[in-house]
Amino acid sequence: MSIETLFGLGAAALVGIGLYGLIVLAHPLRKIIAFNVMGSGVFVLFGALAKRGAGAGLHADPVPQALLITAIVVAFAASALAVALIVRLIESTDSASLAGDPLDEGTH
């Protein structure tokens, strides 16, 4: 099996594992971690596709690789925003629950 296929199959499993955690885990911080696992699965798949595009003296297609760098930085920014939202949720409702509308509970 080529290295691209191996990492591609691993990436497919990572997306599944992350998606499962995103749905099943209750705590929002755990959901963020699961979402990052899922996202990294997409990145690895993309990286495997970049490796398949090797040619013209380059070991991999530089266009998807450059987009991956952009993606990793943007994923960090999105996670930071999500974490800040959760901390604010807990500060204003004393609970990390995503069930129901926190503003209806009158604890604001």
Binding site: T5, G47, V63, A66, F76, A96
Partner: protein, 315 residues
């Protein structure tokens, strides 16, 4: 052959750590697993010949994200037990499992049925790279061929930071983010916070400059600078600036502003937005990168610090 075994071991370990990060009971243990996962992921990039990606992943995916999550979990301690009681029912677990299996199975099919030969832009990049004056194809893509992506990314980062700041309660607007750290001034942390930053800055400048022709560049360099800044903050040697600080705000927007200005200049000098006039490509790329460096460093550091949490006088 050995290479194949190493790759297989990396994939299996990666999957094990992913399962750990999702299923383990304690959030702190999940984060510890996720940091190791991020570092292992950078090995995946090395195996896939993406050294630039590996550097970014190690710095951001393993380093900054881990630091941010550990900071968050310490503030969320009390809420973990409550959300455990909220566990979803068996029905949802089954549906989730089915959904995840079908998503994974679809992706597996896609991977196995990929077209041959693989579509690639490698030839176009290496044919046209000489025009940009940079030797690293990734830098060429980021700042010339796909400069629009990089510009939008810089803007997205600034917007994310504004989003984080906007979560501050009204009375703290304009204050300083995060806690004021106090550490033993003669302790090991303060010692490292004095010793490492000069070395880190030299290393960051090298990575930044080498990025033109070798793996590296402004993203990796900015992450190292942000990490050095965090070290100084955590050792209590300096305080985070208040978000109303004019110099800080200027540093945050300088990158996108210069990038847009050079992009618009391209309309007149080279006939297209974000185009560089011939002979001037390399100097203009350097100007954009230098302008993006403070923006990326400040935004990454301040995203990590979070929304303003203390009153601070705007200086």
């Amino acid at each position: 052959m050995t290479g194949g075994i190493v790759s297989l071991a990396i994939v299996l370990l990666l999957l094990a750590l992913a399962v750990w990060a999702v299923l383990v009971r304690e959030a702190f243990l999940a984060i510890a697993g996720f940091v190791a996962y991020g570092l292992l992921l950078s090995l995946v990039w090395v195996r896939l010949y993406g050294i630039d990606v590996a550097l970014t992943e190690a710095a951001i995916g393993g380093g900054l994200t881990g630091a941010m999550l550990i900071g968050a979990v310490s503030r969320l301690r009390g809420t973990e037990a409550a959300s455990r009681s909220e566990r979803s029912g068996a029905g949802l677990h089954v549906v989730a499992l089915l959904l995840c299996f079908s998503v994974t199975a679809t992706l597996v099919l896609c991977v196995l049925l990929l077209p041959e030969p693989a579509p690639t832009l490698a030839l176009q990049v290496s044919e046209n790279l000489a025009v940009t004056g940079v030797g690293n194809p990734i830098t060429g893509v980021l700042l010339a061929f796909r400069a629009l992506d990089t510009l939008l990314e810089a803007i997205v980062l600034v917007i994310a930071l504004i989003g984080v700041w906007s979560l501050a309660p009204d009375r703290l607007w304009g204050g300083r983010p995060g806690l004021r750290y106090h550490a033993d001034p003669d302790g090991i942390l303060a010692y490292f916070a004095r010793l490492l930053p000069p070395l880190g800055i030299i290393f960051a400048v090298y990575i930044f400059w080498a990025g033109a022709d070798h793996p590296g560049g402004k993203f990796q360099s900015a992450t190292i600078l942000a990490a050095m800044w965090m070290l100084v903050l955590m050792a209590g040697l300096a305080d985070t600036p208040s978000i109303g600080h004019r110099g800080v705000r200027f540093g945050i927007v300088i990158g996108p502003l210069v990038f847009v200005a050079i992009g618009v200049l391209g309309l007149f000098s080279a006939g297209a937005l974000l185009a560089y006039p011939e002979e001037w490509a390399k100097p203009m790329i350097v100007v954009v990168e230098v302008a993006l460096l403070p923006t990326l460093t400040l935004v990454l550091g301040l995203l990590l610090a979070g929304p303003p949490a203390r009153r601070g006088s705007a200086a």
